[in-house]
Every structure is written in C-alpha cells, then in structure tokens.
C-alpha cells in the first residue's frame, strides 16, 4: 500500500504522515490506540488539523483501492467543511482516475450531492441517478441514488 508512488505522492503532498507501530512503539500504540479506538493493524486514520478523526481505513487494501479510500477521505473532509466545489472535484477524481476501485460508486454518489449542495439544483441529483443507470448499477450507492431519478 504505502510504497505505491501515487499513494506516497498523495500522502506527502496533502498530509503530515505519522505512524505508531504495535511492537516498536508499543507505548504510543497503546496511548493513541485507546484515544482513537484503533486496536487492529493496519488502521489508517485521516485526522483534521485539530486531531479529530474524519476518515478511517481498516485492513489491507490493494494499491488502487487504498489510494481511492485515501482520496475519498480527503474529499469527505472538504464536504464536511462545506467546501462543495473542492469536495466534488475530489470525488469526481476518484471516479475518473480509479473507476474500478470499490470507492468509485460512493464517490460518484457524493459528487452528485456536493454539486447539489453547491447549486441547490436538484438536476444534479437526477443526473447522478442517470449516471448510476449506466455504471455501478449493481452497487448499494445506485440504490441510494435511485430515489433521485
């Protein structure tokens, strides 16, 4: 996961990366494991600048899925901050660059929501529902978007 060049670039450019090791940093692992309720490895947390968790990845993932999850977390952080344009851009980037990742249907859903939040135009939701008719139509996110059709 981590040695992947795309992952390394994404993390190094957008985050301060920190690690606690279950054996080599046992005291820190216990301290922060209790603080963040992380008791299994690998657990990767995306924390906002205040140290509050905004996204969690548990368990190993292949490179594309791991990168997509990291990107998804970043976009969700923008969404929670009300940065709709940045959030939509981040979600759409996942669909466009990692379309076969497991995160892609969720990203397409939230891209539509982000557009709607920015514009208050329900057309954004209808278009998202139409997109799900063409791709990822067997995903749970397609079911969630079906109400918008």
């Amino acid at each position: 996961m981590w040695p992947d060049e795309r992952v390394a670039r994404f993390v190094s450019e957008d985050f301060i990366p920190a690690r606690v090791h279950v054996k080599d940093d046992a005291a820190a692992f216990k301290k922060y494991g209790e603080q963040y309720n992380a008791h299994w490895t690998p657990t990767i947390l995306e924390l906002d600048p205040n140290g509050e968790e905004f996204y969690r990845i548990e368990g190993f993932l292949p490179n594309d899925d791991f990168l997509a999850q990291l990107m998804l977390g970043r976009a969700h952080m923008d969404f929670k901050k009300g940065k709709w344009a940045d959030a939509e851009k981040g979600f759409r980037e996942i669909v466009e660059t990692l379309p076969k990742s497991e995160a892609a249907p969720e990203a397409m859903y939230w891209a539509g929501v982000s557009r709607y939040k920015a514009t208050n135009d329900a057309t954004a939701l209808k278009e998202t529902a139409k997109s799900f008719a063409q791709r990822y139509n067997d995903s749970s996110w397609a079911k969630k978007a079906s109400i918008w059709a």
């Binding site: 981590w2 040695p3 060049e5 992952v7 390394a8 670039r9 993390v11 190094s12 957008d14 985050f15 301060i16 990366p17 920190a18 690690r19 606690v20 090791h21 279950v22 054996k23 080599d24 940093d25 820190a28 692992f29 922060y32 494991g33 963040y36 992380a38 299994w40 490895t41 690998p42 657990t43 990767i44 947390l45 995306e46 924390l47 906002d48 600048p49 205040n50 140290g51 905004f54 990291l70 970043r74 952080m77």
Partner: protein, 32 residues
C-alpha cells in the same frame, strides 16, 4: 518517493494545528 512517517505523534498533532494541515496516522504492524 518514500513517505517519511514521523513517530513523534504529539508534536505532529501540534504542528498540524499550527499549519492547518491534516494528518495520516498509521497504526502498523509492518516490519520497520
């Protein structure tokens, strides 16, 4: 490119606030 993970988590959290930058915190068992 290699990710330069830091192990001084307390300082990282402090700097994150000062720099307004998010943090990746990896709970790992991988060989170091």
């Amino acid at each position: 490119m290699e990710i330069k993970f830091r192990h001084d988590v307390e300082n990282v959290l402090k700097e994150a606030g000062e720099q307004n930058k998010p943090v990746i915190l990896d709970f790992s068992a991988a060989p170091m």
